[in-house]
């Protein structure tokens, strides 16, 4: 009872706190926009000096130097500034979690092992304070992935966690934000837990490897069985007999078993990565690997099976004591050089704004600059089949753009203008508002 009350109060608190920031952030201008005199990094060719981008009805209508500006267009003089595609964060809990410690605000992970039907878009809070904060750092679209691991998952282990949704970081409702409601099916690949922290006794629990491995194998087999079931269901659904009973969960697996929806598989250890890749190969399912902390140990396999990898923040701790201190920082280039397509993800919401910084650190350790930039723009778009709309500054694509005073991956760069779906979007947010409020607090009496 006390817990319920606490959660309720927590939720009330959150909702009242959300009030002021939200409305101000989403200002839109209708009509054509022209960004002029900018250095345009299209990522589809060399940069364009003194260039113009024309935006019409939400899309990029024209890109180039010396192109005509449509009459009545709002002109943004970007002299001395740069234009890039907005950054794309392919693994987040954006909108699914507001305050990690307050359960009432956390909708990332359902209970139970198989939840293929739950869909992130259902639970995304369009007025989440995280959205304006994140886009102010130049991220224009994200994938919100349920059950993507971490503390928020309440310890529940979801083998199939639900469908990740791709969204623009702008919109009054989730529908307005949607890019692709069913972008990928999240699978949290089981791990071998020989040591775990037991919160109830606040101590470490040890399990013999043989037992932990058995548990692991059991879960992998359960997953295989589930896929089998889904296949049979999909087949039966085509010509259902009398008395055929529909199952929303198995039905949701349909696009997966038909090869239309990729599995977004979270795996970090070498064994997990290997088993996940081989599983998908055997089952003929599409895989996008998320996590990949030890991907370098399986790079031959990843390359031979053309598995794209979304890497966790490079500014994390290497998993093993003997790992080189810069293991995570040098890994992106090592994978890329081996012919593996990589992208960077924040795997979070409150730290999503560090996406560019993580890419920059990889660049500082050998990843070519353009690869690093593409790893947070074009490559995630390609991985999710969204590159027709996003990822570069090219005619016909959705106008998700940032106008900056410098390198968008550098920590000191300011996002001067933000365009999402072709609309000029304010970079105001809860944090800016609080800053301005307390900036103007009169000096306190001594």
């Amino acid at each position: 009872m006390k817990r319920l009350l606490l959660n309720f109060l927590g939720a009330v608190l959150v909702l009242t706190l959300l009030g002021p920031g939200a409305g101000k952030a989403q200002t839109f201008t209708a009509g054509d926009i022209a960004i002029t005199h900018a250095k345009i990094f299209t990522l589809a060719g060399p940069p364009i000096e003194d260039g113009t981008v024309v935006i019409h009805e939400g899309k990029i209508a024209a890109v180039g130097a010396g192109i005509p500006i449509p009459a009545g267009a709002q002109v943004i003089d970007a002299k001395g500034l740069q234009v890039y595609p907005g950054l794309f964060d392919p693994v987040t809990q954006m909108g699914l979690s507001e305050i990690g410690a307050v359960n009432a605000t956390v909708d990332t992970t359902e209970t139970g092992s198989f939840n293929p039907d739950v869909t992130a878009a259902t639970a995304i809070l369009p007025s989440s304070a995280h959205i304006p904060v994140t886009r102010a750092s130049g991220i224009t679209e994200v994938i919100a992935a349920p059950a993507s691991g971490g503390f928020d998952s309440r310890g529940a282990s979801n083998l199939v966690g639900g469908q990740a949704s791709a969204i623009h970081l702008s919109g009054w409702t989730a529908e307005e934000m949607l890019i692709n409601k069913h972008a990928a099916m999240v699978v949290d690949w089981p791990g071998i837990e020989t040591r775990s922290f037991d919160f109830s006794t606040f101590s470490i629990k040890e399990k013999p490897f043989a037992d932990a491995k058995k548990e692991y194998d059991k879960q992998v087999n359960e997953l295989a069985d589930y896929v089998e079931q889904a296949r049979h269901y999909a087949q039966a659904l085509q010509s259902p007999g009398t008395g055929f009973q529909r199952d929303v969960k198995l039905e949701a697996m349909g696009p997966v078993v038909r090869g239309e929806m990729p599995l977004l598989i979270f795996a970090d250890r070498a064994r997990q990565i290997r088993d996940a890749v081989e599983f998908c190969d055997k089952q003929k399912l599409k895989i996008i690997l998320a996590g990949g902390t030890e991907a370098w140990k399986e790079k031959d396999l990843l390359r031979s099976k053309s598995v794209p990898v979304i890497l966790r923040p490079t500014l994390g701790e290497p998993p093993e004591e003997d790992d080189a201190y810069d293991r995570l920082l040098t890994q992106p280039e090592e994978l890329r050089a081996a012919g593996i397509k990589i992208a960077f993800g924040s795997f979070d919401n409150s730290f999503a704004r560090r996406l560019g910084q993580n890419a920059a650190n990889a660049i500082a350790h050998g990843l070519p600059y353009e690869e690093g930039l593409k790893a947070v723009t074009l490559y995630p778009a390609q991985m999710f089949g969204l590159d027709a709309q996003l990822g570069t500054v090219e005619t016909g694509k959705t106008a998700n753009l940032i106008v900056t005073n410098g390198d968008p991956l550098e920590v000191t760069t300011d996002i001067r203008y933000l365009l999402i779906k072709g609309q000029l979007t304010s970079t105001d947010n809860k944090q800016k508002a609080l800053y301005e409020k307390y900036l103007s607090r009169p000096k306190a009496a001594r």
Binding site: A101, V102, I204, G356, N361, E410, T412, K432
Partner: protein, 501 residues
């Protein structure tokens, strides 16, 4: 994700396997024995970010006896000096992390009782923690090793230099005043977790947190008085006086009252910040730093008036309710209002890029380049009372330096070398070159161990065979027919049960 690190850095500590074994990287990269005298070092032709008196383009630094002997210009060095060519590189004071939990053996929290001032981090420094090495590689030379935030009044704390390879006794920063950790808000009142098997612990509200602190200091005040009385009686010649019992919990609180121990208080919300300043005033002690202090920007004037430093994050927020109104402008705003601000890590991984975190205050709040750099160098030095020795590149200070390949206030800067006391404790080039040897050693040891295991297995198998030689031949035949995985089956179906039933 950061929720774990923050609410439960306690949990993380449990999982860290710190068996206290000497790590693979035993010696400083320079190869010089740690016992030998530090060589004279000349760092040549670098961009020197002194922090205290501006930037020197293309200058030298001369290091002698572990101290900075000269700064700037073209300097002369003895023939046997070690010359570090820093052309194109940037030298800064070593980073000082004002909130760290590395190098601790066991849990960083004595989380059982609400006042755990009797425990001392200095007792459990762990010189073998690989995080020391990793933070060193991130340019950190000094760290304020704190007790966790599980208690209103936590344990005693210690400032260390990251002298990788030295035993634990050689880590503490000589002469740095000892500290004690307080914690306010959600963590000490256990808002976000329950401990099973124990009754709910007092305090469970912010009101109780205040009273816990007031109660402990009231006790400490009386305890101090009882000792003062005793000392007076002894001084006046009394023979049979029984001294008061030494109370390890109250001793450090008395030191706080006497200004001999710094208070570092973890706090978030504006109201609890003011509460602590008020309580400190009531009991006549000073709060040296407020840690995290994510809502410090709301009460910056009050903090400045109290002369209390603030050590905060760059851009962490939203993992707890009390962190929901955190803003990345916190450091800059407080600075502008006259607070001495530092940016810290509270996390071994975060500490590897504090230079980048400091840079964010240029964007969020418009600090200048040097103001931002101060956030992780001179300011934390002043907060820890060690500014006479570290925090800037000045003649006479310790040669604690970090050399970057790029301006450090950038995501593209990579530490090339880290020096402490004029010794190169981290050299990126040498470290990379040394990896192959370590891998080989590991491989060799693994093979050796495997061979031993196989030998022991064979030896173990021999013994029963020797026994078998005594027995009749038919048995030996049977064992040859057996397959390795077969286990002898109990004769259930034969009627071989005998009459013993």
């Amino acid at each position: 994700m950061k929720t774990r690190a923050n609410i439960l850095c306690l949990a993380a500590a449990f999982l860290v396997a710190t068996a206290g074994l000497l790590s693979a990287r035993e010696k400083p990269a320079s190869g010089a024995s740690l016992d030998a005298a530090a060589p004279v070092i000349l760092i040549r032709n670098a961009t020197i970010l002194t922090v205290s008196h501006g930037t020197i383009d293309k200058g030298d630094i001369l290091i002698k006896d572990g101290k900075i002997a000269a700064v700037g210009g073209t300097l002369k060095a003895p023939a046997d000096a070690v010359v570090i060519d820093a052309t194109g590189q940037f030298v800064t004071p070593g980073i000082i992390d004002c909130h760290s939990h590395i190098a601790v053996d066991g849990s960083v929290n004595e989380g059982s009782v609400s006042v755990s001032s009797m425990v001392n981090i200095a007792d459990v420094l762990n010189s073998d923690d690989i995080s020391i090495w990793r933070d060193l590689a991130g340019g950190v030379t000094t760290a304020n090793i704190l007790h966790g935030s599980a208690n209103s009044i936590g344990g005693q704390t210690v400032v260390i230099k990251l002298r990788w390879g030295q035993p634990a006794a050689k880590l503490p920063f000589e002469g740095a005043l000892p500290g004690i950790k307080f914690a306010l808000g959600e963590n000490p009142k256990r808002s976000n977790f329950r401990v099973s098997g124990a009754p709910e612990r007092y305090p469970a509200t912010r009101m109780g947190v205040e009273e816990t602190i007031r109660g402990a200091f009231t006790e400490a005040r009386d305890y101090k008085k009882s000792w003062d009385d005793y000392n007076k009686r002894v001084a006046s010649g009394e023979k049979n006086a029984i001294p008061p019992r030494r109370n390890l919990k109250l001793d450090p609180l008395v030191e706080v009252l006497e200004g001999k121990r710094y208070v570092h208080a973890h706090c978030y919300r504006e109201d609890e910040i003011l509460m602590l300043l008020r309580v400190a005033k009531e009991f006549g002690f000073h709060v040296q730093t407020l840690q995290h202090v994510l809502e410090g920007y709301k009460v910056a004037d009050e903090i400045a008036a109290a002369g209390t430093g603030a050590s905060t994050f760059s851009d962490w927020w939203a993992y707890k309710v009390e962190a929901y109104e955190a803003i990345p402008y916190n450091a800059a705003l407080m600075t502008r209002r006259g607070v001495l601000v530092s940016i810290n890590s509270d996390d071994a991984a975060e500490a590897t890029h504090l230079n980048q975190e400091a840079a964010k205050s240029i964007l969020y709040g418009g600090l200048t380049h040097d103001e931002a750099l101060k956030l992780v160098t001179l300011n934390p030095a002043i907060q820890l009372g060690i500014e006479k020795r570290v925090g800037s590149i000045d003649v006479g200070k310790d040669a604690d330096l970090a050399i970057y390949n790029h301006d450090p206030l950038s995501a593209y800067a990579v530490v090339q070398k880290t020096l402490i006391d004029g010794r190169v404790y981290f050299d990126r080039e040498k470290e990379i070159a040394g990896r192959a040897a370590l891998e080989k050693e590991k491989k060799d040891l693994l093979e050796k161990a495997q061979k031993k295991q196989e030998e022991e297995k064979k030896a173990g198998a021999k013994k029963p065979e020797e026994k078998k030689a005594e027995e009749k031949k038919p048995d030996e035949k049977k064992s040859e027919e057996k397959k390795p995985e077969d286990k002898p089956k109990p004769p259930q179906d034969d009627a071989g049960q005998g009459g013993a039933q």
